[in-house]
């Protein structure tokens, strides 16, 4: 998954999907994120690691303006998605979130049928003209999320009745149904058992052929397994950003070294 032997190969030709520069976030008087510059490449899994409160989830939430819902939150700096400023006043956050999808820590399917969970996004964004097109999107999304085989005979069953791992893959299917360009994942496996975790990790590796994936994880082994690029955050600073293989064998910054080897919490 890591492509350690192909380090650098192909990456040079990959284009930037998201370019963030000078991003600062304040929650009231708390300076949560300090001057972060980072480039998220297309068709690449980028992992954000760091101790609790380091700013990694805050930064992730900046990427689809989830922080807009927090009254005390102020975001400054620039975040470009394909060259367009996502904090521009003309940008509709709802439209933005169709392009930058999100999967959360706890699986949170709607209390609706499996079918409706996946169909919801395409419906509200008016992506289909008829039932046949919608059926096709639902099937394609469930297939991409590696869930189709398990649910195709019970699409009318309620989504919340699935197992934890299946619910999380349903949420991933829901997120990719709107054909996003970027998929944000905030600790998507922390509530899952090792088998379900492995299935989601396998899925992440599949998804990166189509999407740019950004994952926040507390499991350093998971970051090492699934990502090609890793960013280490500490006390609101982006300390180090580089090839995952390099970060885990030969980090440049002593703070990265101390964190990944288990010397600071």
């Amino acid at each position: 998954m890591n492509d350690m032997t192909h380090k650098g190969l192909g990456l040079a030709t990959q284009t930037a999907k998201i370019s963030a520069s000078g991003v600062q976030v304040h929650y009231g008087t708390n300076h949560a994120l300090k001057d972060v510059d980072v480039t998220i490449l297309d068709r690449t899994v980028t992992a954000f690691i760091g101790p609790s409160g380091c700013g990694k989830s805050t930064f992730l939430r900046c990427l689809n303006r989830m922080n807009d819902t927090v009254a005390s939150c102020r975001v400054s700096g620039q975040i470009l998605l394909e060259g367009e400023d996502i904090y521009d006043r003309r940008v509709d956050p709802v439209q933005l979130r169709a392009k930058v999808g999100m999967v959360f820590q706890k699986p949170n399917p709607f209390p609706k049928s499996i079918y409706d969970n996946v169909a919801y996004g395409p419906k509200i964004h008016g992506m289909t003209r008829n039932k046949a097109e919608l059926d096709a999107i639902v099937e394609a999304s469930l297939r991409k999320a590696a869930l189709w085989g398990e649910v195709k005979d019970r699409l009318d069953a309620t989504g919340t009745g699935l197992s934890g791992g299946q619910q999380q893959r349903l949420c991933i299917a829901r997120a990719i149904a709107t054909s996003p360009e970027v998929l944000l994942m905030d600790e998507p496996c922390s509530a899952l058992d090792p088998i379900a975790t492995a299935q989601v990790e396998e899925l992440i590796d599949e998804l990166r052929h189509q999407f740019s994936v950004v994952i926040v994880t507390h499991s350093m082994q998971q970051a090492a397994r699934v990502s090609q690029k890793t960013a280490f955050f500490h006390l609101g600073n982006l300390v180090e950003f580089g090839e995952t293989g390099d970060i885990f064998t030969n980090p440049k910054d002593p703070r990265t070294e101390a964190y990944i080897t288990g010397r600071i919490g």
Binding site: F248, T249, E257, T261, R263, I264
Partner: protein
């Protein structure tokens, strides 16, 4: 630097320290075996040569133990960064030391059959001095590794050229003996293999030093090492 800091999980530190302690213990046995084999040759002390041969079993057992412990540590702790490089360096160093143990054993085996002769009397002293120098290189290479001292490791690497030069001198001298007297070919061939064994042990000391540099800096030394062994070009 974080190297001086302890892990939050203190048993992780203890595992890493134990691994290094076992390596140093193995190194001590191997250094002694190399010097004792050369001394046994010089003194024609066959019981001492026998002890070196028997002692190699303990070296092999320690290597097996270190590799097993290192594999277990990787499986249980999933070490990263300098911890990972330490485990990898110890595994490779243990492998090098095991090879040096075999060379010492081979010197002892040849000592048992070579007997006293003019070539032996003329070269055993040089071979002993060479073994002492290599043993010191091995010791310093291990110290450089456990101290993560790249400059000490670089110094060890540089010293190998002296070993190569000593080997060249022995090679030419033994060559002359063999050309002058067919009767000296037997012992001279054995002495040549003995000298070559010790020269190879010196190469393993530089390998361990290179592991120490990898551990300390994260990359292997880039510049080509000066090689003093010119015998492969000798006709």
């Amino acid at each position: 630097m974080s190297d001086s800091e302890s892990h939050i999980v203190s048993s992780f530190d203890r595992d890493l320290e134990a691994l290094q302690a076992h390596l140093l213990r193995m190194g001590g046995l191997v250094e002694a075996a190399l010097v004792n084999a050369a001394k046994a040759l010089e003194a024609q002390d066959l019981p001492a040569a026998d002890s070196v041969i028997i002692g190699d079993k303990a070296v092999d057992a320690l290597e097996e133990f270190i590799q097993t412990e290192a594999a277990s540590l990787i499986a249980r702790r999933a070490p990263t960064a300098s911890d990972l490089r330490l485990v990898l360096a110890v595994m490779r160093a243990a492998h090098s030391l095991e090879r040096v143990g075999d060379y010492a054993k081979n010197v002892a085996k040849r000592t048992r059959v070579i007997g006293r002769s003019a070539p032996v009397d003329g070269h055993a002293g040089t071979i002993r001095r060479m073994s002492v120098m290599v043993a010191k290189m091995l010791e310093d290479a291990q110290l450089a590794l456990v101290r993560k001292d790249a400059s000490l490791a670089a110094a060890v690497r540089a010293r190998d050229v002296e070993i190569d030069q000593m080997y060249n001198t022995l090679f030419r001298s033994l060559f002359t003996y063999m050309m002058e007297s067919a009767g000296s070919i037997g012992p001279s061939m054995h002495l040549h293999f003995i000298a070559k064994n010790i020269e190879r042990a010196g190469d393993h000391a530089t390998t361990i030093a290179e592991q120490a540099i990898y551990l300390a800096t994260g990359s292997r030394p880039s510049e080509e090492r000066v090689k003093g062994d010119s015998t492969s070009a000798t006709a």
